[in-house]
């Protein structure tokens, strides 16, 4: 393939209007993936040379202008087909003028495009399992964790990379990161794992990230799976910091919380920094199933990461960001918001709640968010073009807005239930027990009407518990949170 024949812009995944900065970034991204030190498939080195050549032309204003002149003038802006379909819907096209607070919901749907979904090629895994081996894990928990880890190893594909880290108040690499793990040897390694000591998640996390880092590349799904049953003390901030660094290098973190005494607020925050999520394992017997689910989920990734880079307009803020699908959970909105992976057979949906408090007098339209969505897709060699995001609404006092799109209504009807549970937690923390029980009772009513008998019952019992004990029970709190959250997942019911 000579750059003369193929379009230089397409080669770098750029639009004709790309700025020099975008050209530079696209090149770096491409080089990271295709560099002869990293690439594997035959032909990738040649492609890398082409990319280099394309970059040299496009980065030089004079050569770029000369090249542009050779392109047919009527060429459409998008010269290639993106492997991902992106769509953002707003709950309403116009807002009222004045200064009062207004809400607008935005639902982003990102799916593998039909062409690619058919030929679904998912990247190999580079995962590290981090096992909490503190004293509290002793007994059936540890036995199940060991058995599940072993089963995971047996499921690995030949090109998958696996490592295992154990931690208590210090961390140790039990199985160093490598391909084609020797099952018999690792079985012995795993059997010798013993419990003892406290829980210092930072130690385990750091060691695990180092292991994943050794083979870290955009051609893999790079992920750390943390299994813990306890609380970490004092190193939360350090954990967030390292998760942030890991996320910026394309390493995701998922958390599996076992039993009832782990800190779900911490684990949720830790994982959503990188677009991962936390899961709740009630019984040791469920470890195997949920760990397997996690593994399957990671191996269905088509785009390993989708990141939103946006800046809200002055007076506009994103109050809430929530991933509806594939794994539901709150996202931490910031300069960069990591959405997590797009699976080849399931779209990614994220709902944003935007609050507008700016003065809209004499305005005819208002920009809400501007930026772009960046994604990494291992199986597509040329970089995926950024999807430009520009959300704006009309300002019109007389307009009667049409009803919100059904997808937004549907997502919100379930999300409202999850948020009622959050409200009850906030109320308990601020000491307003009456309000908390009221929220829970209302939540239970909604759930009953949807036929979620079991969860509704748990919630009513918890409301009683709060009335009497003035606090949530640790397990009830988690059951309610993860129960209402799982309602959001399509075709998933809690019993």
């Amino acid at each position: 393939m000579s750059p003369k024949k193929s379009n230089l812009y397409a080669l770098l995944g750029l639009f004709r209007s790309a700025t020099p900065e975008e050209v530079r970034r696209a090149y770096l991204k491409s080089a990271k993936k295709l560099h002869p030190d990293k690439n594997q498939a035959p032909g990738e080195t040649e492609l890398f040379l082409d990319v280099q050549q394309a970059y040299q032309v496009l980065v030089d204003p004079q050569r770029r202008a000369a090249y542009d002149a050779t392109l047919p003038a009527d060429e459409v802006e998008q010269v290639f087909r993106s492997p991902l379909d992106c769509k953002i819907e707003l709950s309403r096209p116009s807002i009222h003028g004045g200064k009062d607070k207004q809400l607008v919901y935005a639902l982003a749907t990102i799916a593998t495009s039909a062409d690619h979904a058919r030929t679904a090629k998912t990247p190999p895994l580079n995962i590290c399992l981090v096992l909490d081996c503190s004293t509290s894990m002793q007994g059936p928990k540890m036995e199940m964790a060991k058995a599940s880890a072993l089963q995971l190893i047996q499921r690995l594909a030949p090109e998958d990379i696996f490592s295992l880290v154990r931690f208590s108040d210090r961390a140790e690499v039990a199985i160093p990161a490598s391909r084609q793990i020797n099952v018999r040897r690792s079985e012995m390694q795993i059997q010798t794992l013993t419990t003892g000591g406290g829980t210092e998640i930072f130690q385990g996390l750091k060691t695990a990230i180092d292991e994943v880092q050794r083979y870290n590349s955009p051609n893999y799904v790079n992920h750390v799976i943390l299994l813990t049953d306890g609380r970490t003390y004092g190193d939360e901030q350090q954990c967030y910091e390292i998760a942030k660094i890991a996320a910026s290098e394309g390493i995701g973190i998922s958390g599996l919380g076992l039993g009832s005494s782990w800190n779900d607020v911490f684990l949720d925050h830790l994982t959503n920094i990188s677009g991962g999520s936390s899961m709740f394992i009630q019984q040791p017997d469920d470890i195997e199933r949920l760990l397997n689910e996690k593994f399957t989920y990671l191996s269905r990734a088509f785009a390993q990461s989708v990141d939103l880079y946006v800046e809200p307009a002055p007076g506009v803020s994103v109050e809430y960001a929530f991933r509806i699908q594939p794994e539901s959970g709150v996202l931490s909105f910031g300069e960069v918001t990591r959405f997590g992976p797009v699976l080849y057979d399931e779209p990614l949906r994220v709902l944003l709640e935007l609050s507008i408090e700016s003065d809209r007098t004499n305005l005819r339209s208002l920009d809400l968010l501007t930026g772009y969505i960046e994604s990494t897709v291992a199986s597509v060699l040329t970089p995926v073009p950024n999807f430009p995001v520009k959300l704006s609404v009309m300002v019109d006092d007389n307009a009667v807005p049409p009803p919100p799109p059904p997808a937004i209504m549907q997502a919100l009807s379930k999300l409202t239930l999850y948020r009622m549970q959050e409200k009850a937690r906030v109320a308990v923390e601020s000491g307003d027990y009456e309000k908390a029980t009221k929220h829970l009772q209302q939540l239970a009513t909604h759930l009953l009407s949807q036929g979620e008998k079991g969860l509704a019952k748990t919630i009513l019992l918890e409301a009683q518990h709060i009335e009497q004990q003035k606090t949530f029970s640790e397990s009830g709190q988690k059951q309610i949170k993860y129960g209402t959250r799982s309602l959001l997942m399509p075709g998933n019911r809690v019993s």
Partner: protein
Amino acid sequence: MIVCSNCKNQEPSGAIFCSECGMQLVQLEGQKTQQIYKETEELHTAPMGGLNPTATSTWISLHLLDGGQIIPVSERTEFTLGRLSENQPIMPDLDLTTYQAFNHGVSRLHAVIRLVNGQVTVMDLGSANGTYLNGVRLIANAESPLRHGDILALGKLKIQIILNLM
């Protein structure tokens, strides 16, 4: 500013659900409030349909007198009648929306029909426009026996009961 009709909580305009009680605040097209259709929602009375493995054959059919359609019911021995509404997270087991339920004044959760020990009963679930059995209005939340050929009216939607019990 929007005020939630259920709990009087104030929400900024553009809100779609009440953040306090979970009520939907946005009326969807074609559901502009008409007094006759307004109802008190007694969510907690919504019964849950049970599955009975023995009742696999059709034990009851509903004959819609206006349209002439016949809806057979099997498997469930207990089912709620009503119309699906995006307004509320309520799911009747048997959705009558396609049979002009809205225009006939059928509530979202209108009535429940049960099969217990070979006895078929009907119970009104506190519907706005009432349930009539052979022209007599039923008392809400009380069971009445149903016989083959009875005419049941949900609001103005008339249904003839056809029983297939062995």
